[in-house]
């Protein structure tokens, strides 16, 4: 490249970088800064408020995310392993569908599906499993949230894991099979450890995404009881206009997402 060409190309990258700095970089820094400020002064007060009002919710968020990750991987690893070992195209296709369903839509769909008088209750009543008029109590609590988050994230996890598992050469599986390893053992003793990096990455991504989930809990939860952290943040910011405490909540969520930040940064520097 000639010198002026190098300048022209360098300049052409400015708008994209500028947009990300203005709409992401600066806000990120501002929120970290604001979390230490109250009435123009440095203070830890915002974090004290977070601790006083929201520590239950932090634990609740961690619990829901942990439950969601456990369920997602508890289903995702066997499913992906099975799909790697035996072709089952329509199931693989179905499992991909939620990838294309936006989070908000997932939230609403799970709401009408799981709510006490929702479609699932209706279906179970019609099938005679539930007595007529009975309400199904899973939609509004943590269980409904875990199910909804799993529903949305399972697709990505299966996609990533099947991809990683397909990268394991058949010979490693046949060697195990020849010694008498069944499907289950081929998955656990060969596929998962040989794809450990991908599994770990998928785990970190899922955990972070669930910790920071907003639209699904926003659409599913009713006002009472413990809330997900992002819901607290939204109301703190939107209804109380309390940007500082909202920022402190945000910084707590950044810390919880540090695993993902590390994973992504490593992917760039590699």
């Amino acid at each position: 490249m000639s010198r002026w060409e190098r300048w022209a190309w360098g300049l052409a990258t400015v708008p994209a970088v500028g947009v990300l700095v203005a709409a992401f970089g600066l806000p990120l820094l501002q929120s970290v800064g604001a979390s230490f400020v109250r009435e123009g002064r440095f203070t830890w007060e915002n974090y004290a408020i977070v601790y006083r009002l929201y520590r239950q919710d932090v634990l609740y968020t961690l619990g829901v995310a942990a439950g969601g990750v456990a369920l997602t991987f508890g289903c995702g690893i066997p499913l992906a392993g099975y799909l790697r070992l035996r072709a089952w195209p329509w199931v693989e296709f179905l499992l991909k569908v939620p990838l294309f369903v936006p989070f908000v839509v997932t939230g609403h769909a799970m709401r009408v599906f799981l709510q006490p008088s929702g479609t699932l209750a209706a279906m179970l009543t019609a099938a005679g499993i539930l007595p007529p008029g009975a309400r199904l109590g899973i939609g509004e609590g943590w269980l409904g949230l875990v199910l909804a988050l799993t529903w949305k994230h399972l697709a990505l996890v299966v996609l990533l894991l099947v991809g990683a598992f397909r990268g394991v050469d058949d010979s490693y599986l046949e060697a195990a099979q020849g010694f008498g390893a069944g499907t289950f053992r081929q998955i656990w003793a060969v596929l998962v450890p040989m794809s450990a990096t991908s599994v770990a990455l998928a785990l970190v991504l899922t955990l972070t995404s669930m910790l920071a989930s907003f639209s699904i809990p926003l659409l599913m939860s009713r006002g009472s009881g413990p809330q997900m952290l992002m819901i607290d943040l939204y109301y703190r910011f939107g209804q109380h206009g309390d940007f500082e405490v909202a920022s402190a909540l945000g910084v707590v969520s950044y810390v919880m997402a540090s695993g993902a930040v590390y994973a992504y940064l490593r992917s760039v520097t590699r």
Partner: protein, 268 residues
């Protein structure tokens, strides 16, 4: 014999579970979108009809839809124009301050969006962008640029540098080489990228809710308001319209979409 029977039973059970689990919630949307009258505890609606679908064709929802499509179109064009130089330089490892810039293009994936967008809203108020369409486009560009840069970098990387070196060797300038060789060869990647950015913008909720409020309502925000106000039918119709483009895309392009492109959808 017993082995294959057991296997068959296993597949039947798992298959049914997956079918019900995946399609159950989506079918509920469909039923709700058609339910003109549904009094609990009847297992099925008393009256089905297209009333609520027809209502989408007028007034607020139609405005939200057209506004969303407009915003998504502008976002797509801008994101592509801006990300092509970055991706091309990144693919050829010529990006000034490379790792730093690329880090800027992955971090929005890693950090929780909501606190950052809340903070952006505060900034946008200062810049008179809050509640305006340019503000919403700007916030959609954050995710859009991330998708575009990574898919385009992959596309440019797939164009072998030796093809370009051959052109340079014959005396073409680097810029000319880019427009005559790299860009035409990367066009499928550009198309995939455009689809991703468009869908991202169409479905974006968190940023639009914060930055767009109260004047800019796109379809996801409209759906949220409807669902919150217990207008479940309206919300369900909107939800189906929102997910339709993505699912159609999956049906048509499943075989052609590479896994890494699909993976981006997980973050919509």
């Amino acid at each position: 014999m017993t082995r294959s029977l057991l296997g068959l039973a296993f597949r039947a059970t798992v298959g049914t579970l997956v079918l019900v689990a995946i399609l159950g919630p989506l079918t509920s949307l469909l039923i709700w979108s058609l339910a003109e009258r549904w009094h609990w505890p009847a297992p099925f609606p008393q009256q089905l009809g297209l009333k609520y679908w027809l209502r989408m064709l007028q007034g607020d929802p139609l405005r939200a839809l057209t506004r969303g499509v407009g915003i998504a179109s502008v976002t797509t064009v801008l994101a592509l124009l801006m990300s092509v130089p970055v991706s091309y330089l990144a693919a050829r490892r010529r990006l000034p301050a490379g790792p730093l810039v690329l880090a800027l293009f992955v971090l929005p994936q890693a950090f929780p969006q909501l606190p950052v967008f809340a903070s952006a809203t505060v900034l946008f108020y200062r810049w008179n962008l809050a509640g305006t369409i340019p503000g919403v486009v700007l916030i959609h560009l954050v995710g859009g640029l991330v998708y575009a840069v990574w898919t385009l970098t992959a596309a440019f990387r797939a164009v072998g540098p030796e093809l370009e070196e051959a052109a340079v060797n014959l005396g073409a300038s680097a810029t000319r080489t880019f427009f005559r060789i790299a860009l035409p060869l990367a066009l499928p990647g550009v198309a995939a990228s455009a689809i991703l950015v468009f869908l991202h913008s169409l479905d974006e909720f968190n940023g639009t809710l914060l930055v767009g409020a109260p004047y800019v309502t796109t379809l996801p925000v409209y759906m949220y308001t409807a669902s919150l106000g217990y207008e479940l039918q309206i919300a369900s119709v909107t939800a189906l319209i929102l997910m339709a483009p993505g699912v159609v895309l999956l049906l048509l392009l499943e075989r052609f979409l590479r896994a890494e492109y699909l993976a981006f959808f997980g973050h919509l």
